[in-house]
């Protein structure tokens, strides 16, 4: 239990310490050392509990509970203050409603608010802790140098780095708390802390847009928070059969109909936090924040909390129409967000839409909730976290060096920033190509949906969705590998230290592919087995083939040695006109003209304007349907 407490409390300590560190070098040292400690502790956690199954801890309840309620009220007051300051009354209203509901819960059911075990750990929590502990802290390390450069580039933004790093580490602490809590009251507390943290980080630059988007994120997440408290009230009121606020008891409750309503409400909170449609706009708005924040929100914290809770409750969803409906919200989000990603040229926008799409896919798996789908969902969470964090951090580094994060401007990155381009290449490959992770999960999901009644709907959505996914990733990849001429390398000059996290995460993307059979057999399969009594097994032959493909991919670059410089080089074909290697050709009247190439964005067909509204409407209907269906089941 010490490791768990360490992982929750140590980041808070570091956060407080960072409030007093002004100098960048010193901050770097503190952050790097703490990252080492947090990463080390999460690996130790893996060694300690990987083979133990679910372990529960009593943990002090009374004092901690009181502190949490006090902080919750403090946060509510803070929201009211901020809401008043920026005249956002909706946020105030939601915060007040939520606080009132919490007070009502505390007063009405004081005897039902005790869990025997407040903390716990199982394989799924270990996986989440590893993601937070390794990727989250690497992002924090990257952020130190990034923020220094950021303020260099943006002198107009007030330097609030002390607050920034305080929030980052508080965020990590909250994420650890969230995945270790067995007491749903605790879980809710950490849930709210992540909401406020993201609010503060998104609004960091204090521009009008940033403030607006921060409030949008806040309002949407508070909406989920209200649903969460209502679920807690229902659970507390039905304590004898539902299991009250004890997560383990709730999940194993014999009265499936009673817990379905709170499960759907908590699932709704998960949908808001995971930015599924119609709530996807908060995650897109969050792009205004400095890039490390996006990396953090998208890969290891926040949205992952949303899908974490959905996957946790998927045994409750399994086989119910309400769960099917929740799954459909995810599936529709997957296909619509993937399609919109085609029309985006801003790298961060593409990444955001792809995150939303993948979270949708995870939610689809969790909502339908058969054992194989839960297996696929957890695998998706892992692979998405590593690949997406790499892509965000890479985009941030590229933006700092080249001054643009438009994909069109990344043309020829392989020439200008070869190392960066290779890392981005690996990250993108990780998102959609065999034998990399995301694809394994999609494949597993298709095989699993075939066996589900009405699973054909999901198969159809997956089939179209993955086709669309290939399109938008491949054209980005193409831009990266375009060999442009007469351009200089601009890789140097970016702070050397920032590269270390990038290298490590690149290594993690590859390691995740090579080690995934081990990850699956030691962590995911036992977890699925413990809950469902059966587990998904990968056919050995297929694993071998995947590894063979990976090995081939790693060896293939050696072929560059085969075709050494012997070949004659010619400029490209330009309709027979004399041309130069940097895409100029001799036009009429002796003029030299330039040719430019641009990707297809097909905005007319896949634009936001065209697709977002229908997608959001369908998802709202499905969410309402999930509530009705849960009610009917009762």
């Amino acid at each position: 239990m010490q490791t768990l407490l360490f992982l929750i409390l140590f980041p808070i300590l570091v956060a407080c310490l960072l409030l007093f560190v002004k100098q960048t070098t010193l901050r770097y040292a503190v952050v790097a050392l703490s990252a080492l400690a947090i990463g080390g502790a999460s690996i130790y956690l893996l060694i300690q509990y990987a083979f133990e199954g679910a372990v529960y801890f009593a943990a002090p309840s009374e004092a901690a509970g009181l502190v949490m309620v006090a902080i919750e009220m403090g946060l509510a007051l803070f929201i009211v203050y901020m809401g008043a300051k920026f005249k956002n009354y909706l946020a105030i209203a939601l915060a007040v409603i939520q606080a009132a509901l919490v007070v009502y819960l505390e007063i009405s059911f004081p005897e039902n608010l005790h869990a025997v075990h407040n903390l716990f750990i199982d394989q799924f929590s270990i996986i989440m802790a590893l993601i937070v502990g390794l990727i989250g802290s690497l992002i924090a390390v990257y952020a130190v140098r990034y923020m220094e450069t950021y303020h260099h580039h943006h002198p107009e933004v007030r330097d609030r780095q002390k607050m920034f790093f305080f929030v980052i580490f508080a965020f990590l602490a909250a994420m650890f708390g969230l995945v270790f809590s067995n007491n749903l009251m605790w879980l809710f507390f950490f849930w709210e802390v992540t909401t406020i943290s993201s609010f503060l980080l998104i609004g960091y630059s204090e521009t009008e847009e940033a403030t607006k988007n921060a409030f949008r994120a806040l309002v949407m997440n508070l909406l989920g928070g209200v649903a969460f408290v209502v679920a807690l009230i229902i659970l507390a009121a039905t304590e004898p059969t539902s299991g009250g606020i004890d997560l383990a008891r709730v999940l194993t409750s014999p009265d499936a109909a009673v817990i379905l309503i709170p499960a759907v409400l908590i699932g709704f909170a998960g949908i808001t936090k995971a930015a599924l449609m119609p709530f996807s706009s908060w995650l897109l708005g969050a792009m205004v924040a400095p890039t490390p924040v996006s990396a953090l929100l998208h890969s290891s914290t926040m949205v992952k909390a949303g899908v974490y809770i959905l996957v946790r409750f998927s045994p409750v969803f399994a086989g119910t129409f309400a769960g099917f409906s929740v799954g459909l919200v995810g599936a529709v989000t997957f296909v619509v967000a993937s399609a919109i990603a085609i029309s985006q040229s801003d790298a961060k926008s593409v990444l955001a839409y792809s995150t939303i799409a993948n979270l949708g896919l995870i939610a689809a798996c969790a909502g339908v909730g058969t054992y194989m789908l839960v297996w696929a969902a957890i695998l998706l969470i892992i692979f998405h976290a590593v690949a997406k964090s790499l892509l965000f951090l890479g985009t941030g580094a590229i933006e700092h060096r080249t001054g643009s994060r438009n994909i069109e401007d990344m043309e020829g990155l392989i020439v200008r920033m070869p190392k960066m381009a290779v890392m981005m290449f690996i990250g993108i490959a990780g998102m959609f190509l065999a034998p990399f992770g995301m694809l394994i999960s999609k494949w597993a999901a298709i095989e699993a949906f075939v066996q589900v009644p009405f699973g054909l709907v999901f198969i159809a959505i997956l089939a179209y969705g993955s086709a669309v996914t290939v399109f938008f990733w491949a054209k980005w990849m193409g831009k990266l590998v375009t060999v442009t001429r007469n351009q200089e390398r601009v890789e140097k000059g970016f702070f050397e230290e920032s590269w270390a996290p990038l290298y490590i995460i690149t290594g993690l993307v590859i390691a995740a592919v090579l080690l995934f059979p081990v990850i699956s057999s030691t962590l995911i399969e036992p977890y699925v087995l413990a809950i469902y009594g059966v587990t998904a097994l990968l056919p050995q032959a297929n694993v071998a083939i995947m590894l063979l493909m990976m090995a081939l991919l790693l060896v293939l670059p050696v072929s560059f040695l085969l075709f050494k410089r012997s070949a004659k080089r010619l400029p490209v074909y330009m309709g027979g006109r004399p041309s130069t290697p940097d895409l100029h050709f001799a036009g009429s009247l002796g003029m030299t003209r330039e040719v430019q190439t641009q990707n297809y964005y097909l905005t007319e067909y896949f634009g936001e304007a065209r697709l977002f509204r229908p997608g959001a409407v369908v998802c709202i209907i499905l969410i309402l349907a999930s509530w009705v269906l849960a009610g009917v089941a009762l």
Binding site: G412, I414, L433, A434, L439, W443, I446, E447, V450, P453, L456, I459, A460, L462, A463, Y464, S466, A467, V468, V470, F471, A474, K475, M477, G478, K479, V481, T482, V483, T484, P539, A541, N542, I545, M546, M549, L552, L556, P557, S559, F560, F563, K564, R565, S566, A567, K568, R569, L570, P571, V572, Y573, M574, P581, L583, V595, T597, N599, Y600, Y605
Partner: protein, 288 residues
């Protein structure tokens, strides 16, 4: 543990280029006859490729050789997996990987013609991918296995359960065989408005590799067609022949369409397949 799967893979790797080249030769003869010409000798495709290997090594950028080699290797690997009786979905995804390499090769050269070809190739990929996945799912629903080895040895006449899926697959087969009206990214015929599209900047042995990869892929595709009729090998082979001749016919009587039409056709083919599968799963639920 039997090693028969390995035999299938090795036979494919050795024989598929021969078979693919012969099919290309027959294709050109039939096409010529349909156009009232005599046509080239049967072995012309081999002469062509052989000649390409003797050409001077000319590149725009060295990287293009790498991507095309990767394309060839992964096409061959995926096809080998198919004939080894592997998992159909994995094979489909491996093919996607191979095609992405070809597209990257076209991007790498940074040429206007191959750039347009690459974009169109990606649109083609997007057009046919849903249908290919649904075809695999359809065969699973009938035979209860994703493994080619099981599907190929089934005694169930899959085609009777999957007529819509088959028609859909035949539609996207036109895209994959690079035949009119869907040959938007590159074409066998010399009337392309984008020169040779995706292969514009590939020459000599690199172009030869693209051609050989295409032969490999065609043999795989015909193998896929065979799966629908696998319960009776004779009908199966006949169906493959008829389908291919029909594709040649369509190639000769249609003109190239715009990319929108390709995308719509591919996706509508998948809708047709979906309707088929929906009826099928309804029947299975009803215990029929």
């Amino acid at each position: 543990m039997t090693w028969t799967w390995l035999i299938g893979a090795v036979l494919f790797l050795i024989l598929a280029p021969v078979a693919g080249g012969l099919i290309a030769g027959i294709d050109r003869r039939i096409t010529a006859r349909m156009q009232g010409r005599v046509g080239p000798p049967l072995l012309q495709p081999f002469y062509d490729v052989g000649k390409l290997f003797e050409k001077e090594n000319v590149v725009v950028t060295t990287a293009q050789n790498f991507y095309v080699l990767a394309y060839l290797i992964f096409i061959a690997l995926s096809g080998a997996l198919f004939f080894a009786g592997g998992d159909l979905l994995l094979i489909v995804f491996a093919f996607t990987l191979a095609h992405v390499f070809l597209v990257l090769g076209a991007y790498a050269v940074h040429s206007p013609y191959s750039h347009i070809g690459a974009e169109r190739e990606l649109i083609q990929l997007m057009a046919y991918e849903p249908m290919v996945i649904l075809a695999a799912v359809g065969l699973y629903m009938v035979t209860n296995s994703f493994y080619v080895a099981d599907i190929a040895t089934t005694t169930i006449p899959a085609i009777l359960y999957l007529p819509g899926v088959f028609l859909g697959f035949a539609t996207i087969l036109t895209i994959k065989l690079r035949k009119s009206p869907f040959d938007i990214s590159t074409s066998h015929h010399a009337h392309q408005e984008i020169v040779k599209g995706i292969t514009t900047e590939f020459s000599g042995s690199t172009l030869a590799q693209v051609e050989i990869a295409h032969w490999y892929e065609n043999v795989f595709l015909l193998g896929f067609i065979f799966l629908f009729f696998a319960w009776n090998p004779i009908i199966g082979v006949a169906a493959v022949v008829v389908t291919y001749v029909a594709e040649i016919f369509i190639d000769n009587v249609t003109a190239r369409v715009r990319w929108q039409a390709v995308l719509k056709s591919g996706w509508l083919a998948a809708v047709l397949a979906l309707a088929n599968l929906a009826i099928l799963s309804y029947m299975m639920l009803g215990g029929v």
